[in-house]
Symmetry: C2
Subunit: 458 residues, 2 copies
């Protein structure tokens, strides 16, 4: 094996926390998307920053690739060891190191999941709101600049990561950011490493911004006759300055899939699912004003989830969208797309995408975080059917082209990984070469997550 020397050296200090069994490698060679199984040479389970630094320094000497791994829920093959090497399973670094309630900050290791952090915060009156659906690791969420249902109110990981500890490609450890809410002290390295998908450094600690648990929450689901009315409702709500905590769109196919999976009886029409956070009076006022917009746009079947249980059921259903859609076409797998456009072009983007999907013959429910202009089509393709996979890839490619034509981006929240690398030049032009220069400057030997984000990263 090409990396035997590196593995032998790593084993001297990791012992049985360097796993070389087929089973453990296979567990870290899977992905939730359509990329083929890709096994690393070994899986390392570090428990401290010092161990991560030592592993990376060792790999640097041997030019052995190092790929960070969280919960494995990425959708673009981010954590696949396409050039072999070591997968660094960060999930044993799963301690909440500090909760600074007065400063509304938490310091966590990268293997803490968002649900684990929120469980720890429950009695503090604080919460970490970023919610990509999956109970992903916070390190992985930072590395892919994740967002999800609440970004419209609370921002993405870009907005909620205040500082990082990072192991560089040569094994040195740096800290970025500070405990202050803002800083102008030089280049924004926190922002650079967040979203760098493990290609510039390995995140070993995060300082996160917390938010107050809202005093009151109101949530609702409502149906529309057509998707344009739903999208127009979103635009009007934004323009009226009604502060939504969540606003999710689902089309009629998604509604049907939700019904099938959950035994519900939603009308098979486009829907908005919405949530407001605030004081008792402001949440009620926001909900009332939103209701007026919905009525004006012809929305109906307006159901308020008044109890915590109802609300949890609502968002559990939304978070179960992916399996619900998959189950909707037996024997299928999903190719999940992810584009984001300016709000003013959202209706156009959805309309064209619907038409394109309809013409393809592949079922493709559409869901989205429409307050951000971000939506997904889940293309349901028969497992093993190469022709359908090709068709789905073509649809996804056209969605990306459409997003760019409308002033948007090829990925709102899923990241680049392997799946979107081929589209990066189209979005960024010469700026992609600037990214390549940064990659070379910070990882000259290209050991950090090769094959991802930039072309030079082979």
């Amino acid at each position: 094996m090409p990396h035997d020397a590196a593995l032998a050296e790593l084993a001297t200090f990791l012992g049985d926390r360097l796993a070389r069994s087929k089973a453990e490698r296979a567990m870290h060679g899977q992905n939730e998307a359509w990329f083929p199984e890709t096994l690393p040479d070994a899986v390392a389970y570090p428990e401290t920053t010092e161990e991560v630094a030592r592993i990376v320094a060792t790999c640097a000497r041997h030019r052995c690739p190092v790929i960070a791994w969280g919960t494995g829920t990425s959708l673009e093959g981010h954590a696949l060891a396409v050039r072999g090497g070591i997968t660094l399973d960060m999930m044993r670094m799963n301690r909440v190191l500090a909760v600074r309630a007065e400063d509304m900050q938490a310091v966590v290791q990268p293997g803490v999941t968002r649900e684990a952090l929120n469980a720890e915060l429950r009695t503090t009156g604080l919460m970490f709101p970023v919610d990509p659906g999956a109970d992903a690791s916070l390190g992985g969420m930072a590395a892919t600049r994740a967002s999800g249902t609440t970004a419209v109110r609370y921002g993405t990981m870009r907005d909620n990561v205040m500082g990082l500890e990072v192991v560089l490609a040569d094994g040195r450890v740096i800290r970025t950011g500070s405990g202050a809410r803002k800083s102008s002290a030089g280049y924004d390295l926190t922002g650079l490493f967040a979203g760098s998908e493990g290609t510039l450094g390995i995140i070993t600690e995060l300082t996160l911004r917390l938010h107050g648990q809202p005093e009151a929450i109101s949530a609702a689901v409502c149906a529309f006759e057509d998707f344009e009315s739903a999208v127009q409702t979103v635009i009007m709500t934004i323009q009226m300055g009604i502060p939504m905590a969540r606003i999710e769109f689902l089309d009629e196919t998604a509604a049907a899939a939700f019904n099938a999976a959950n035994g519900t009886t939603m009308p098979e029409k486009p829907h908005l699912m919405v949530e407001f956070h605030g004081s008792d009076s402001s949440a009620a006022e926001d909900a009332q004003r939103f209701g007026e917009v919905v009525a004006e746009m012809g929305g109906a079947h307006f159901d308020w989830a008044t109890t915590t249980e109802d609300r949890n059921r609502l968002w559990k259903m939304r978070h179960g969208a992916y399996p619900a859609c998959i189950a909707f076409r037996p024997g299928c797998m999903g190719l999940v797309t992810d584009i984001c456009v300016p709000i003013s072009r959202l209706a156009e983007a959805v309309r064209e995408t619907r038409a394109d999907i309809a013409a393809s013959g592949i079922p493709g429910p559409i869901l989205g975080h429409v307050g951000d202009g971000n939506f997904h089509a889940i293309l349901l393709i028969e497992r093993g059917n190469e022709a359908e996979l090709r068709t789905a890839k073509t649809l996804a490619h056209r969605m990306a082209e459409r997003a760019l034509r409308l002033g948007g981006t090829i990925t709102g929240e899923h990241g680049v990984g392997m799946g979107k690398k081929g589209l990066m030049a189209m979005e960024h032009g010469e700026a992609w070469e600037v990214m390549a220069r940064i990659k070379r400057a910070l990882d000259p030997d290209g050991i950090l997550n090769p094959g991802k984000v930039v072309e030079v990263n082979q």
Copy 2:
């Protein structure tokens, strides 16, 4: 002159928009801080991105420094041509290129000032909230990651710049970001260039995030017996989740300076100046809840600025703090410090700073954007008094050390420039070397704003 060849070539296409007179060079050799006059070899007045690109490409060939200049209101000598070369006066690129109301975005050239943009937006129902006090250029504000009084609600330039057009060190033009509200498409170049102080590229266009003009605004000023009560009021207000649009602290010396400059009769005590934005009912509710906190903390002289005129007078007074303080000690100049700490350490930071200033014998009113943990001492030193300048620098240095000891940053919003470069290693350790590598990767010949931000930038 060392850059004669470059200047001659630039003159061929800039004509009289390349100024070499002593007067124009001197106008661009000044600064609002204590740095000595530093003249560039010439001043260029580009009118288009293409001209900026051609100027930079020409300078790159001749290894001639290029320094971008906005309104000249920086406080850390950011735009001084310390190695000679060309000052690029960006103020003729002052057009608002687009206002996309539906997307709540504006596209502007870098020479548009924040007040000019807001004048243009007045009838749209939208506003650009970032407010550093000075009517600075938006390009300069982005380049220094400025913030100011409203950051507690609306964020800093980091949060409100969605995309940039940038001329690189070799004259190539790139675009960063997109019109979408979020993206995960690779490294966050927008965030990297914002705050890079013209050392990585020249900003030639900005896409900015706009916000709705609030339906209702309530503002107030109130006095406290001691600064601890004022700071504690801020902490409690934040923890109660009352959304402040502005919350400014001034100490008793600043209050006295305000009275002297404005003919007002504020009690010479620590004050908070506060503003709430929202709907009629929510702004009123926020103000009422804040009033309860103030009462609990023993605040008094609680005056609501109910009319627009009253409110404008209040913030005009706040924005006039610097000249008011300068006038408070005749014949003096100001050395303005700028640290930012976690809110929980704010009282400690202010207390120690007050004691240190008091012991020095130099007057030093303290003001701050305390909702962010950010505050300034304006050290009033006799013009030409070297001993006082040395003392003031020592006080400033100790403030920076204090900020770091308390988990904060050496600059919350003013940036690094020349003034804070010597402190960067103390804040960032090895991370400063990562910044240097990025600088070398993007500007290998070091022509962009030499002498600033990173050590390697000579």
